[in-house]
Symmetry: C2
Subunit: 116 residues, 2 copies
DNA sequence: AAAATAGTTCGACGAACGTAGAACTGTCCA
DNA sequence: TGGACAGTTCTACGTTCGTCGAACTATTTT
């Protein structure tokens, strides 16, 4: 098995995607994935939004994102790499991912400003 | 009282908006609101996505949308009119509402095609 | 073969969600 | 004044969600 199962492009459901992106922790994850090419699950544990969450919880969030069609997971030796399904999401819901990413980023920036 | 309370533009939260739009019934409601200027709650009861739902349930959904900052409710005699907060949403999360509306519409169209 | 590493699955728990009916509030009309 | 009408609030219900720890699987390293 090379890649974990996710919905086909045409089966990606809007409500499911919205639900997957309606959680601060997952939003943070997606935002991080947009910056880099690929990340392994361990890296995601260091994210601000995911800090302190148990392995099982992070795994659960990744599953929600994968089953909604937001990310793709593939094997690479003893670790798994996750990546955004950018092209697929853009094809199915043009502009949605970009808008969400811009929004998420502006909120993260605002939160950082308040902190300091 | 002229208008029911909702969050200020700068207090609109992305995760809350995403959550508000992560329900098929509410998605349908928002899609309908994008077409017309204003609608009263009764009209929303005739929507495909809201058909058969109790008054109290519809009222609940409208509250979720309002508290997330997606819609605005104002009094007009014995009925209440709801409207999209288009400008506010566009200011806070540029492109998000449009992308969601386009996506919702394409899904509704696809569903209608299958039905016939 | 054994230990270490990376992640999943399972069972559980409290909180929140979507739904509904009944009772309530406020507005208009006769 | 009394209905009729339009929505809201309250209470309740079953379901789903986010979280966790513990047990499990699979791969790599020693």
């Amino acid at each position: 098995m090379r890649e974990l199962p996710g919905p086909a492009v045409e089966d990606i459901d809007l409500a499911s995607v919205m639900h997957a992106l309606a959680d601060p922790s997952r939003l943070q994850t997606v935002s991080a994935l947009a910056d880099t090419s690929d990340l392994c699950c361990a890296d995601l544990g260091d994210l601000a939004g995911s800090q302190g969450l148990a392995k099982s919880t992070r795994s659960h969030h990744l599953r929600v994102l994968r089953e909604a069609g937001v990310i793709r997971t593939r094997y690479d030796g003893q670790r798994k790499l996750v990546a955004l399904r950018r092209e697929d999401l853009d094809a199915r819901f043009p502009g949605l991912l970009d808008a969400v990413l811009v929004g998420a980023r502006s909120e993260i920036a605002a939160a950082a400003t308040v902190d300091e």
